[in-house]
C-alpha cells in the first residue's frame, strides 16, 4: 500500500509546526473559479474520517484539521467534480500524519448534463473499474514479479454517493503534463508501456474469468446510446467550416460535411469488438489530462507516469486507445511522423506481458497488430479532426460539457473557437490529405 507522507510525531511542538506548514504539494492550474457549491455538501470531515478509519483499519483515527478545495479549473475535466483534501489525522497509537486525497464525485446540479450523461453510466463504471478490475490487474502483474504502479491507489469507493477517494498523486510529485504542449517521446513511451501492461493484463483477466470484462460496452461510441453524437457531429461540422476557409481544401470540407450522414455508424464500428482481433479493456479516454507525471526535481526529466480516469473504459480493440492517444496527446513531430515507432514500443511490452502471463489465445504478430489498427483507422481521423481541437483549446472561459453538447450560439461559438487554434489547424491541414487518400473521408468505407 502506497501511503501519504507519514511524519511520525510525538510532541505537541511538532503538531504546531505542522499546522503552520503551507500546502506544499504542487498543483495544476486552477483556483480563480473556486466555488464552494462545487464541493458536495456531504463531503465533511466526518465523511472522510469514516473512510480513513476503514482504510487504515483504525477505529480510533481522528481528523484534527483539514483543508478542502476544488482540484481543477474549467476545461480540464468534463466528467465530474474533483476535490482536493489535505487532512492531518491522529491514529490510535497517538501518531499524527498528514494525508492528501482527491475525492471524485459526479455532477449534481445541471439537469441537461445529467440526462445526457446518464446512459453512459460513467460514475458507476469508474467505481467498478477501480473497485473490481484494477486491483485484479495489479495482482496479475505481481504474478510475473512486476511491481510497477499503473493506476492511482484507491482508498475508498462509495457507491451510494458515487464517490471515489484516491491518494492525491500531487503529493508523490505527480503532476499533470502541459495539456497544450503534447507529450514528448520519452513520456509517450512511458505512457504506452503502462497502457500495454494494462491492456495485456485485462486480456488475460478476461480470458481467465470467462469474459468478465466484456460487459464494459459504453464507450464514446456504443450500440446502446447516441447521447453524445450531436456533440461530436457538431464538432465535425465546426471542423468542416474551418477547413473550408483554407485555400484548395474545398474538396476536403465537402467530404467532411458529407461524412456526417454516416459518422456515428463509422464510429461505432471502431468500437465494435472484432472477434478475430485481440481485445482488451481500453481506457476509452486516454489523453494528456488523464496521465500524471512525476518529474525529477533536478533534471526535470520524467521519471514515472500514472494513468487516471476510467469513466469510459470499454472492452474492445487497443486501437481505440492508441489512435486516440497518438492523435491527441503528442508533440507535433511525433503526431505526424513517428507513430509507427511508438506503436512498436507499445507492442513490445504488450506482447511480452501477454506471453509472460501465458495468454492462451493467439498473440498477434506486430504486423497483424498493425493490420488491426488499420482496420480501425477511422478513429485516427476522428481523434485528429474532431477531438484534438477541444483538448488543445486555450480559451477556457466557455469550456464545459454544455458547450460541447449543445448547439446554441454560445456552444457554436465555443466550437468555432476551438478550431481557430493555430496548432490544431496546422496538424489537421497536414493530415487531412493523408486520411483522404486512405479512404477515411468516404461516407461508405
Amino acid at each position: 500500500m502506497s501511503t501519504p507522507d507519514i511524519s511520525i510525531m510525538s510532541s505537541t511542538e511538532n503538531l504546531l509546526k505542522l499546522s503552520k506548514e503551507s500546502f506544499s504539494a504542487p498543483v495544476a492550474q486552477c483556483d480563480e473559479n473556486f466555488e464552494h457549491s462545487d464541493v458536495p455538501d456531504w463531503l465533511t470531515k466526518d465523511y472522510l474520517e469514516h473512510y480513513l478509519r476503514a482504510y487504515h483499519q483504525d477505529r480510533k483515527l481522528k481528523i484534527l484539521r483539514w483543508n478542502i478545495r476544488p482540484a481543477l479549473g474549467k476545461g480540464e475535466n468534463y466528467g465530474g467534480v474533483l476535490t482536493r483534501i489535505r487532512a492531518d489525522y491522529q491514529t490510535s497509537m497517538g501518531t499524527v500524519a498528514t494525508g492528501h486525497y482527491i475525492v471524485k464525485t459526479s455532477f449534481e446540479s445541471d439537469e441537461f448534463v445529467q440526462k445526457t450523461m446518464e446512459p453512459y453510466d460513467i460514475f458507476n463504471r469508474e467505481m467498478s473499474v477501480y473497485e473490481k478490475v484494477l486491483p485484479r490487474l495489479n495482482e496479475l502483474l505481481r504474478e510475473i514479479d512486476d511491481n510497477e504502479q499503473i493506476f492511482a491507489e484507491t482508498l475508498a469507493v462509495d457507491r451510494e454517493r458515487s464517490a471515489l477517494i484516491f491518494e492525491d498523486l500531487n503529493v508523490r510529485e505527480f503532476i499533470m503534463p502541459n495539456r497544450l504542449a503534447g507529450l514528448d517521446m520519452t513520456l509517450a513511451k512511458m505512457v504506452l508501456r503502462k497502457l500495454a501492461k494494462m491492456h495485456a493484463t485485462s486480456a488475460v483477466l478476461n480470458e481467465r474469468e470467462n469474459g468478465c470484462l466484456e460487459s464494459y460496452d459504453r464507450g464514446f461510441f456504443n450500440r446502446h446510446t447516441d447521447n453524445y453524437m450531436p456533440g461530436f457531429e457538431q464538432l465535425l461540422m465546426a471542423c468542416s467550416r474551418r477547413v473550408r476557409q483554407w485555400e484548395d481544401y474545398e474538396l476536403y470540407a465537402e467530404k467532411i460535411t458529407n461524412l456526417k450522414s454516416n459518422y456515428t455508424e463509422l464510429g461505432k464500428r471502431v468500437f465494435d469488438p472484432n472477434p478475430s482481433h485481440v481485445n482488451v479493456l481500453t481506457h476509452g479516454d486516454l489523453w494528456t489530462n488523464n496521465v500524471m507525471v512525476k518529474y525529477d526535481k533536478i533534471t526535470g526529466e520524467p521519471v514515472d507516469v500514472i494513468i487516471i480516469d476510467f469513466q469510459y473504459a470499454v472492452w474492445g480493440s487497443p486501437a481505440i486507445d492508441l489512435h486516440y492517444f497518438l492523435n491527441t496527446s503528442l508533440e507535433e513531430d511525433m503526431h505526424l511522423h513517428r507513430q509507427d515507432e511508438l506503436i512498436q514500443c507499445y507492442y513490445q511490452t504488450f506482447a511480452d506481458t501477454l506471453c509472460k502471463l501465458r495468454y492462451r489465445a493467439e498473440i498477434p504478430s506486430l504486423h497483424k497488430f498493425h493490420l488491426q489498427l488499420e482496420e480501425k483507422a477511422f478513429y485516427a481521423f476522428n481523434s485528429t479532426c474532431v477531438i484534438l481541437a477541444i483538448q488543445r483549446n486555450e480559451e477556457t472561459e466557455d469550456a464545459d460539457f454544455k458547450a460541447i453538447m449543445q448547439d446554441d450560439e454560445r456552444a457554436t461559438r465555443f466550437k468555432d473557437t476551438c478550431f481557430k487554434n493555430m496548432y490544431v489547424q496546422r496538424v489537421i491541414k497536414k493530415l487531412l490529405p493523408i486520411y483522404e487518400r486512405r479512404g477515411l473521408l468516404e461516407v461508405e468505407q
Partner: protein, 419 residues
C-alpha cells in the same frame, strides 16, 4: 562480345512452320514467305524466364502485294534443363499461352462492351502448346519502347500503367463471373502453394542484403541478424502473402508487373510536346488468381523511384482504386467492390510481398552488372552464384532503397519471425 543468346532460338522456327501460321492470321491461303530473319529480341538481364526471338518476315500475298512484318516469338528454355526444370514447376508457359489464347482477348472485349476502346495487351498471332511458344505482334516495330528499368518510371508512366492495370483487374474479375472456373485455376504466381523453386534466389538475395546491411553504417548488425533469421521463412511468408483472406477482393493478377513488362508509345500531343500515347502490358507468365495488392506491391518496389515508395504510395493506390472501382461499376460487377479504405487494409494484409519485392526482386531487376545475369547464376549454390547475388547489392539505387525501407518494414513488424 559473343552473342550467347543466338543459339537458344528455337530450331523449329522455320519458314515451313511460319507459313501456315501467317496464312491463318492474315486470312490469306495464298501467302508465301520470301525471307525470314531471326534475331534475339532481348539482352541479358531483361528476361530470365523465357527466350525472346524477333522474326522479320518478308512475304507476298495472293494479291501479289509484298509486305514486311515483325513478330516476337516467346519460347521456353527447352535446351537448358536446369532452367526448364524449375520453370516448368511454375507452369509459366502454359499460363501465358492460356492468357494469350483465351483470357486476354476476352478482357479486351469486356472493355469494348462499356465503350472503352482501350487496348491493354499486344495482339496474339499464334499460340503453340506443343512447342510452348507464343507469337505476338512486335510492339517495338510499332514504336513501342520499354521504360528505363534502371532509373524507374516517372509519374506519367506510373499513372498510366496503374490505370491499365486497374482495367485489367476489373475486367478479369467480371470475366470470372461470366466464365467461372477458368481464371481461378491459375495458381502459380511467383509464390504459390505448389513449388518453392525460387527459394535459392530469394533466400540467397536476402542473405546478400543482410551482408550489405552489416557493412552499412545506417543499418548495422541489427538488420543483418533480423534478415538472416527471416531468410529461412521468406518462402513461407511470401507464399502466405499470396493466399486469399476473408473479405479480399480477388482477380487475375499480372504476376510480374514491372518496368520491362510495360511498353510505351510516345507521340506529339496537341501542344507539340512529346507525351505518352499508349501503353500495353506484356508477359503474363506468372498471372495468378489472387489479390491485386500483390501486383501493386511488386510494381511499386521494382519499378518506381524511392520518392514514390516513401511518400506517394497512398496517392498511387487511390488513383488505381478509382479506375478499378469505376470499371467494375460500369461492367455491373456483382461482387463487393472494395471501398478505398478496405483496399488499403488489403494492401496492408499482403504487405510482406512488398518486402520480398523490395529486397530481392528489385535488386535483380534494376541490376546493371549484367555479364553474369542469367537464370543459372541466379539460382545456383556455387561460388559464382553467391558472388553474383552479392553483386546485386553494389547497385546504388538498391542500396538506397534498403537503407530507406528496411527501418520502415521493421517498424511494421514485417521483418519479424513470428512462429
Amino acid at each position: 562480345m559473343k552473342d550467347t543468346q543466338f543459339h537458344t532460338a528455337p530450331l523449329w522456327l522455320t519458314t515451313e512452320y511460319l507459313e501456315p501460321v501467317l496464312r491463318k492470321y492474315k486470312k490469306d491461303e495464298g501467302l508465301i514467305i520470301t525471307k525470314l530473319v531471326i534475331k534475339p529480341a532481348t539482352a541479358k538481364g531483361d528476361n530470365y524466364a523465357s527466350v525472346m526471338t524477333r522474326i522479320g518476315v518478308d512475304f507476298i500475298l495472293s494479291t501479289k502485294e509484298a509486305e514486311h512484318a515483325s513478330y516476337i516469338v516467346k519460347t521456353s528454355h527447352e535446351s537448358d534443363p536446369f532452367t526448364a526444370g524449375i520453370m516448368s514447376k511454375y507452369d509459366i508457359y502454359k499460363t501465358e499461352m492460356l492468357m494469350y489464347e483465351r483470357i486476354l482477348p476476352k478482357l479486351t472485349e469486356l472493355l469494348k462492351e462499356i465503350g472503352d476502346g482501350d487496348k491493354l495487351f499486344a495482339d496474339t498471332i499464334h499460340v503453340d502448346y506443343e512447342h510452348s511458344a507464343i507469337i505476338f505482334e512486335d510492339l517495338a516495330r510499332l514504336n513501342f519502347v520499354i521504360p528505363d528499368r534502371l532509373a524507374g518510371m516517372n509519374e506519367a508512366q506510373a499513372m498510366i500503367t496503374l490505370k491499365k492495370l486497374a482495367k485489367m483487374h476489373a475486367t478479369a474479375a467480371v470475366l470470372d463471373e461470366r466464365m467461372p472456373g477458368v481464371l481461378t485455376k491459375l495458381q502459380r504466381g511467383i509464390f504459390n502453394r505448389t513449388t518453392k523453386g525460387f527459394a535459392p534466389f530469394f533466400e540467397g538475395v536476402f542473405e546478400a542484403c543482410a551482408d550489405f546491411a552489416v557493412e552499412c553504417p545506417a543499418l548495422g548488425a541489427y538488420y543483418k541478424n533480423k534478415l538472416m533469421k527471416l531468410k529461412s521463412h521468406v518462402m513461407e511468408y511470401g507464399t502466405r502473402s499470396f493466399d486469399a483472406y476473408n473479405g479480399d477482393f480477388l482477380t487475375l493478377t499480372h504476376g510480374d508487373m514491372w518496368t520491362n513488362n510495360v511498353m510505351l508509345r510516345y507521340g506529339n500531343g496537341s501542344d507539340g510536346q512529346l507525351q505518352i500515347k499508349d501503353i500495353l502490358l506484356i508477359d503474363f507468365q506468372f498471372s495468378a488468381w489472387t489479390s491485386p495488392a500483390l501486383d501493386l506491391h511488386y510494381f511499386f518496389h521494382t519499378s518506381l523511384t524511392l520518392d514514390f515508395k516513401l511518400h506517394r504510395e497512398d496517392e498511387l493506390v487511390q488513383y488505381y482504386h478509382g479506375f478499378l472501382a469505376e470499371t467494375l461499376r460500369q461492367l455491373n460487377y456483382e461482387g463487393h467492390i472494395p471501398s478505398l479504405h478496405e483496399f488499403c487494409v488489403q494492401m496492408e494484409l499482403h504487405r510482406f510481398y512488398a518486402v520480398a519485392s523490395s529486397i530481392a526482386c528489385q535488386a535483380l531487376l534494376i541490376n546493371d552488372q549484367t555479364d553474369e545475369a542469367d537464370f543459372n547464376t541466379l539460382m545456383g549454390s556455387d561460388d559464382r552464384s553467391y558472388k553474383f547475388r552479392h553483386l546485386l547489392y553494389k547497385n546504388k539505387r538498391t542500396q538506397e532503397s534498403a537503407i530507406a525501407l528496411l527501418p520502415y518494414f521493421d517498424r511494421k513488424g514485417l521483418l519479424d519471425v513470428s512462429d
